[in-house]
């Protein structure tokens, strides 16, 4: 299913990711430029982005977040999502593990240049926020007829 969305899960790509992670761990930085708006690995919420010739699909994994409290905006081709996940804390309990993200978050996602910022829709299901941005007509591949 989602394997379809990760076609470049080739060994080379995996290897590259592993290398990047190791470099991150070793030196705390990557010698090559990183995206100016990119987030640290493991940031909340995780994001997947996919595209067809008609639209760009952004999936934000925001379990337990009320979608009405999310602030979603798009400026040219940068999509920003911010919000807060406040986890209820049990006062009289001992915590053994706290791995889930708690607090405010913001993520900016660079979309392809040709997205149409006026045609965006977002829906949330089972804790996944799915944002669909249509692409401009000109960007779609056109069939060229031979006369």
């Amino acid at each position: 299913m989602f394997n379809r969305l990760t076609p470049f899960e080739s060994s080379l790509f995996d290897e590259f990711q592993r290398l990047e992670r190791e470099m991150d761990d070793l030196f705390g930085r990557w010698p090559w430029p990183i995206g100016i708006r990119s987030a640290t690995r493991g940031s909340f919420p995780p994001v997947n982005v996919g595209a067809t010739s008609d639209e760009v699909d952004v999936y934000l994994f925001t379990p337990g977040v009320d979608p009405k409290t999310l602030d979603i905006s798009i400026q040219q081709n940068v999509l920003s999502v911010s919000g807060e996940r406040k986890l209820p804390k049990k006062e009289d309990a001992n915590y053994y593990r706290q791995e889930r993200f708690d607090g405010e978050f913001r993520r900016a996602i660079m979309l392809p240049e040709d997205v149409d910022a006026d045609r965006v829709e977002a829906r949330c299901e089972n804790g996944i926020l799915h944002i669909r941005v249509q692409r401009r007509e000109a960007a779609k591949p056109r069939q060229i007829e031979v006369k």
Partner: protein
Amino acid sequence: MAETQDVATRQSADVQKPERQVVLNPPVDICEDAEGITLVADMPGVSRDRLNIEVDKNSLLIEGDAHFDMPEGIQALYADIRSTRYRRSFSLSPELEPNNIDATLKDGVLTLKIPKRAELRPRKIEVRVD
């Protein structure tokens, strides 16, 4: 000699299994109070019918398949999440009552309440003054 070779080939065949399904480890919060243990796991994309919880005396397994709408012919541009399969298991301890686990799933968050055996819950001891 021949036997050694056999073992060696079998091992490498196992290692190179083509179906290498990546499994996601859902992040969890675990806390304990007088009533029992509460486990909360983030499993976005999982609905009730794609969630599986298995419990026996000593262990608890949670697994689920995430599902989300994808248009035909989609190509990945970027992916933090590279699988749709969640799985994580925990060992339980004998004072817990695995048959009475209360599970709720809401907006991709699974909450499990695992009670302690009634006889093992901490009791307040009253001091009588005669």
